[in-house]
């Protein structure tokens, strides 16, 4: 697999020989090495069960929630090994957005944005809170839509708005990377388009890693693509190159719809 490592200067995230196995010997991710470029959108593609979600979750160690998981290899995020990092610190640096919008149902829009601070018991001044809330909501282009209803429950928003609220919640920590696990699969096309536009603008300040089932989405918004199959990283490169001249037969077959 070594030929798949693209050495990138000053990568935000560098994954080396990452393997994740469960139930002793079943590999969800097998010996993956890859560098992720700063301020880019990287898409992780592959058929169901290929390990793309596990790879994404290994980055902020959310995969440790599964039982009997064994992880080997190293992940260096912003120059630091994540293995011994406190989870709060790691997850501040690597924010996550999930498939289904999941704002906290008991919290207002305002509190949802600063939930990371609130739930971790980090006290902020009122002015700091206001600033973070406004900045994060502006970043996800939600500010104008909700600025008059900040103290209403976040669950009253539409699905697409909720998902942008969840992105804002991740942005509130000012993370290095944002990990998105099929963030638009539960949304309608218009909401999806809004999120896609948003991700493209967000890469100016953040690095975006996106798991997607949707190949045209990957083609539309990603700069780099990873293609995974059966836990292995089959191909990694510029999205344009991969879609026009895939190097691996399996990539080609997946992209042309022969399986998936």
């Amino acid at each position: 697999m070594n030929d798949n490592i693209k050495q990138i200067k000053d990568p935000v995230l560098s994954i080396r020989n990452l393997s994740v196995s469960y139930d002793k010997g079943k590999y969800a991710v097998k010996d993956v090495s890859v560098d992720i470029k700063r301020n880019s959108v990287t898409a992780i593609m592959g058929p169901s069960g290929c390990g793309k979600s596990t790879l994404l979750r290994a980055i902020n160690r959310m995969h440790e929630l599964y039982e009997n998981i064994e992880t080997t290899g190293t992940l260096i995020l912003n120059g630091k090994d994540i293995k011994n990092m406190p989870t709060i610190q790691l997850r501040r640096m690597a924010g996550m957005v999930f498939q289904r919008p999941n704002p906290f149902p008991t919290m207002s829009i305002y509190d949802n944005v600063i939930a990371g601070y609130k739930l971790n018991g980090i006290s902020l001044k009122r002015s700091e809170k206001d600033e973070i809330v406004e900045r994060s909501l502006r970043d996800v282009t939600l500010w104008d839509e909700v600025k008059d209803t900040l103290y209403k429950k976040g669950t009253f928003l539409s699905g697409g708005q909720q998902q942008r609220l969840c992105i804002a919640r991740a942005l509130a920590f000012d993370p290095e990377v944002i990990l998105l696990d099929e963030p638009t699969s539960a949304l309608d096309p218009i909401a999806t388009a809004k999120i896609e536009d948003l991700l493209v603008t967000l890469k100016e300040n953040y690095t975006i890693i996106l798991v997607t089932h949707n190949m045209s989405q990957a083609a539309r918004i990603s700069d780099y693509s990873l293609f995974m199959y059966l836990g292995e990283l089959v191909e990694y490169g510029k999205t344009n190159d991969m879609f026009t001249k895939p190097r691996d037969r399996r990539t080609e077959e997946y992209l042309t719809g022969k399986f998936g």
């Binding site: 959310m62 997850r91 990371g116």
Partner: protein, 295 residues
């Protein structure tokens, strides 16, 4: 030929429509049978008990048998009320809830967090069995543990212990079921923000499922509110208002039993039952309201 087929089909349709109607009527009838007991109960309680209901009935303690007899002989209402029973029931409920809620909620969280684990399954099954233990047996146990072991005599505490054991399995189950209803994604959202596990439970899961927890607790309380048998062996009863948990205490269902056994006081059973029923019904309605509002 074609024409004939159509004819057959039409007659069949008619009989089907008839059957459909018959079954509809049957369903409505059976539903009426289901709700009629509660309607009849409430009707009877109001009919027989409303005369005795007054402010005195809530604020005063019962008369002695002689006073009741005199009143009856003069054709008057029985004087006094069941204040000792109301305060006793409240006292024992509060103490039982204080004991059962923390244990039950924590156990429910444990079961939710460890699905499929041996200890969790064992706990769940034992909790289910506990729910089936006859209340008189729980009364006996509380008698041995508390009346003989702690308070050296009949006491409200002993009554509360037996009621708390009865409430416990209901709280455990409803806590587990409530937490199961919360989407895993909510938990993941909190964990992805780096929130430590215990804070996810305390600050996210419990607030999210709060109304469900409250509903379960209220139903648990209303379920044991009318328990009589265990209280006979534990709280015993008292003619005065008692707020000391180490002393014998009255309760509304205990009073109903005592009134029933005294020919002079038997007139008070209906009004006491009406009051007990009103409390249980309102607890049920409140918990239904809470559950409905959060859906």
């Amino acid at each position: 030929m074609k024409y004939q087929h159509k004819q057959i089909a039409k007659s069949k349709l008619k009989s089907r429509a008839l059957k459909d109607k018959a079954i509809r009527v049957l369903v409505v009838l059976l539903s009426v049978v289901t709700i009629s007991p509660i309607v009849l109960i409430i009707f009877k309680l109001i009919e027989k008990g409303y005369k005795q209901i007054s402010l005195d009935f809530i604020l005063k303690t019962p008369p002695n048998s002689y006073e009741a007899m005199t009143a009856l002989a003069n054709g008057e209402l029985i004087p006094g009320g069941i204040a000792n029973g109301i305060t006793g029931t409240l006292l024992m409920m509060v103490v039982a809830a204080v004991m059962a809620i923390p244990v039950g909620v924590v156990t429910g969280i444990y079961l939710y967090e460890n699905p499929g684990k041996f200890m969790a399954n064992l706990t769940r099954n034992i909790s289910d069995i506990l729910q089936g233990v006859p209340s008189i047996v729980l009364g006996l146990i509380a008698y041995i543990w508390v009346v003989k072991g702690i308070t050296n005599g009949y006491s409200a505490l002993a009554g509360s212990v037996s009621l708390a054991i009865m409430m416990l399995p209901m709280i455990v189950r409803s806590t587990e079921e409530t937490l199961k209803m919360i989407p895993v994604t909510i938990k993941e959202a909190a964990l992805a923000l780096g929130v430590p596990y215990y804070k996810v439970i305390l600050k996210v899961l419990i607030p999210t499922g709060f109304s469900g927890l409250l509903t379960g607790i209220l139903l648990g309380i209303s379920r044991v509110l009318g328990e009589t048998a265990p209280l006979m062996l534990t709280a015993l009863g008292s003619t005065i208002i008692n707020l000391n948990i180490t002393k014998p205490t009255s309760a509304v269902p205990l009073l109903i039993w005592e009134f029933y056994n005294d020919p002079n006081m038997v007139g008070l059973i209906w009004s006491s039952s009406l009051l007990l029923m009103a409390i249980v019904l309102s607890l049920n309605l409140i918990s239904k309201q809470i559950a409905a509002r959060t859906k």
